[in-house]
């Protein structure tokens, strides 16, 4: 559970300190910041993390920060805190992928639960991202010719037809296919199809 850092961003120093104390009491690592600007100026590295974000802050508010992070593809698991329960803002934040939207003053267990869910989502998303990255790395090893063969093979075409399509012999295709299976570390055709799907290759009609 101590896996990950919780970034607390709230302009109220006292609330910030209290949040830090509470999160640390649950064994979490906390980094508290007074503004979204500071967070953006020194973006944390890609370790496990989530954000506890105040909606109403001078300058860049919580919702603005969420949008900015999305815009640059750095989605974060965010728990929003608001001083007054503004329903439209809450809906907006949840639609944009917020984990939760809590009204101040909140109950400690509720916040801790939300933070845990945020970290869990971060962990799941991070794992998925890593898996995707690994497959992508393998795919990057394929030659252009091997990628063509992969694209046709995953559509279920037998070697003979793949050879016809690419204007080469069935024997050559067999060799390419073996190399593709090895580089992608696929145990079966079905496995190869799943891996190809992960990197966005769904069989093309060449």
């Amino acid at each position: 559970m101590s896996d990950g850092t919780v970034f607390v961003i709230d302009d109220d120093a006292s609330v910030r300190r209290a949040l830090g104390r509470l999160l640390r009491s649950a064994g979490l690592t906390v980094r508290a910041l007074p503004s979204a600007e500071e967070f953006l100026a020194d973006p944390p590295d890609d370790g496990p993390s989530c954000l506890v974000l105040d909606v109403s802050m001078p300058g860049i508010g919580g919702l603005d920060l969420q949008q900015r992070l999305r815009a640059v593809g750095r989605d974060r698991a965010i728990v929003f805190l608001t001083g007054h329960g503004s329903v439209p803002k809450g809906v907006c934040a949840m639609k944009a992928g917020a984990v939760d939207f809590l009204q101040k003053p909140f109950d400690a267990p509720v916040l801790l639960d939300a933070v845990r869910r945020a970290l869990e989502r971060d962990r799941v998303e991070r794992a998925a991202r890593e898996r995707h990255d690994r497959i992508r790395e393998r795919f990057e090893l394929l030659t252009p010719r091997e990628r063509e063969v992969l694209a046709l093979v995953v559509t279920g075409l037998p070697n003979k037809l793949v050879a016809d399509r690419l204007g080469t012999s069935e024997k050559t295709i067999k060799v390419h296919r073996g190399r593709v299976m090895a580089k992608m570390r696929a145990q079966s055709l079905a496995h190869l199809v799943r891996l190809a799907d992960r990197v966005g290759i769904r069989g093309t009609d060449v």
């Binding site: 006292s14 104390r21 509470l22 001083g83 109950d107």
Partner: protein, 559 residues
């Protein structure tokens, strides 16, 4: 016909020539007496007929054919009355002063002209002679009428069939008759003028939209109009001669008497009170009057108006204003409540979070005394902070509505700071305070001024809703504008307003907000103006937003 008999009995210079003036039978004297009595007592409208009748009697008595009365007013001879015997040759000249220029000249100079025969006319009267001949006249007398030293007209008699003499005694009598006619006509004209004046005055009094009154020196009602009878429900008999105090309530009478006394002293007076109708209603009444002296006596004359409609309208306006103020107050209270909720939320959140975190840590036994102390210190300071907000709120709502106190404008702005910051935060606006040091104090109502400032900050914040973040800055500044005025400005970076929006922004009920009432600015302006200051707006340079300004007189200048 009698005259002929007379002529036969009383011959004069010529045979058959009748001259009653020389007769002793007294019929001419009788005629003179009848005329003098009859013309004096006669009403103006019957006067013309009486004069014609008189002419007829004279013509008949003298046995002549034509008698006329002439008027020479306006430098022109005009025939006002005429009588012609025997129905023939009654055609009267249209322009006697042209046809009879020489005779007219004689009349104007007051000379009697006697013509026994036309041949007596001098050569220069050739035209007159021709005209007389055309009318068939052979003999005539023209007697100017002299009244109050001037010629006012003439009487003339003429004989058609024959020539005759006009002896002195007859001429004297004819001149006397002429004066009697002229006097009666003058009196008739004066009477007519008087009657016209009277009818005019009556018409004026009746045309007045209000209730006319004329009181004598003792306060008794002498004249009034139908309006008064209609409104009050009294008949003429119930009004005439009654003292004014009978128509007002006892407590109003003192005031009316004061107004009357003022009028007697200064010439005019005004009083607003209630008038009592016969059926016991009280009608709001505004009376204005003046003292008029008529033939040496003074009267209080004037008009009273039923001002019920005006009063009703006034009440309505007052009620609407009160409602508006109430709405504004309720909405201000609602906004204040939201601001307080937001302000109190922060320390409450911190306190709750700290308490729960501390309990968790204590339960695990992993908390040092120093950490424990630190948490409790945080909780205490947040509790103090919450208390401070409550205290400021009490300040904000402190009683003293309308009371002018010596105030520091900067202090007022700082006091509303937390509430306005809540508004600013709501809109992601950075609030910048740029307050002048050593600002003189002003006289004012703290709550009202706070309302104005809060309102301006809220408007400014909301105006920047659609702006990019970099522009969302609201600057509240104070300066000493002149030696007499402190100026407060609230500058936003909102969109540029169109000319129309800018022109209309101070109008009540004009709003660009979906949920706005549109009374904030107009209310703010009334508050500031009531403080002796001004509230206005300017558009910022560089295409961004507006600056609201208001001034307040410094304490010494205000006194």
């Amino acid at each position: 016909m009698k005259n002929r008999t007379d002529a036969a009995v009383l011959p004069s210079g010529e045979p058959g020539h009748l001259d009653p003036a020389r007769s002793d039978d007294g019929r001419f004297e009788q005629l003179l007496g009848d005329l003098s009595v009859g013309l004096v007592g006669i009403p103006g409208v019957d006067l013309d007929a009486a004069i014609r009748d008189g002419l007829a009697r004279i013509v008949s008595l003298l046995d002549v054919d034509v008698g006329v009365v002439l008027d020479t007013a306006d430098q022109q001879i005009r025939i006002t009355h005429a009588y012609a015997r025997r129905g023939g040759r009654a055609k009267l000249p249209e322009s006697p002063d042209i046809e009879f220029a020489w005779l007219a000249e004689r009349v104007a100079s007051g000379e009697v002209t006697r013509l026994t025969r036309l041949g007596e006319l001098p050569p220069e009267a050739a035209a007159d002679r021709r005209s007389l001949a055309q009318h068939g006249i052979r003999s005539a007398v023209v007697c100017p009428v002299i009244l109050d030293g001037g010629v006012t007209g003439a009487v003339a008699f003429a004989s058609i069939g024959r020539e005759r003499d006009w002896p002195d005694a007859l001429v004297d009598r004819l001149r006397l008759i002429g004066r009697m006619f002229a006097g009666a006509l003058a009196r008739g004209r004066a009477e007519e003028r008087l009657a016209a004046e009277r009818e005019f005055a009556e018409a004026v009094i009746e045309s007045l939209p209000g209730m006319f009154f004329m009181l004598d020196g003792q306060g008794r009602l002498l004249r009034w109009n139908k309006n008064r009878e209609a409104v009050m429900g009294y008949s003429a008999g119930e009004l005439r001669g009654h003292h004014f105090s009978e128509f007002f309530s006892a407590d109003d009478n003192a005031r009316i008497q004061t107004a009357l006394d003022t009028a007697w002293r200064e010439g005019t007076g005004v009083s607003e009170h209630h008038i009592l109708t016969k059926d016991g209603r009280r009608i709001p009444y505004l009376a204005t009057g003046r003292i008029a002296t008529i033939r040496g006596r003074s009267y209080a004359i004037g008009v009273g108006m039923d001002i019920s409609a005006l009063k009703t309208a006034e009440d309505q306006v007052r009620r609407q204003q009160a409602e508006l103020a109430h709405v504004a107050r309720v909405s201000a209270m609602g906004e204040l409540a939201a601001a307080i909720a937001h302000e109190l939320n922060q320390p409450l959140t911190a306190i709750r979070t700290n308490s729960q975190a501390t309990r968790r840590m204590l339960a695990r036994g992993g908390m040092s005394a120093a950490e424990f102390d630190e948490a409790l210190a945080d909780i205490t300071s947040d509790a103090v902070r919450a208390g401070e907000i409550i205290r400021r709120l009490r300040d904000l709502l402190r009683k003293g509505d309308g009371e002018r106190l010596s105030l520091d404008v900067n202090e007022i702005i700082r006091a509303v700071g937390p509430f306005s910051r809540a508004d600013a935060l709501e809109h992601n606006v950075v609030l910048v305070m740029d307050l002048a040091a050593r600002l003189p104090r002003v006289l004012g109502d703290r709550i009202q001024l706070q309302q104005v400032i809060l309102n301006l900050i809220r408007n400014g914040s909301e105006a920047m809703r659609g702006e990019s973040l970099g522009r969302r800055e609201l600057v509240v500044a104070t300066t000493l504008a002149t030696a007499e005025f402190v100026e407060v400005t609230v500058r936003d970076g909102g969109p540029r307003l169109s000319d129309e929006e800018f022109a209309r922004m101070f109008q009540p009920f004009y709003t660009t907000k979906a949920d706005g009432l549109g009374i904030g600015l107009s209310l703010g302006r009334s508050i500031i103006e009531a403080h002796g200051g001004l509230l206005w707006a300017t558009r910022n340079d560089m295409d961004s937003g507006i600056t609201m300004h208001f001034t307040l007189p410094v304490e010494t200048a205000a006194r």
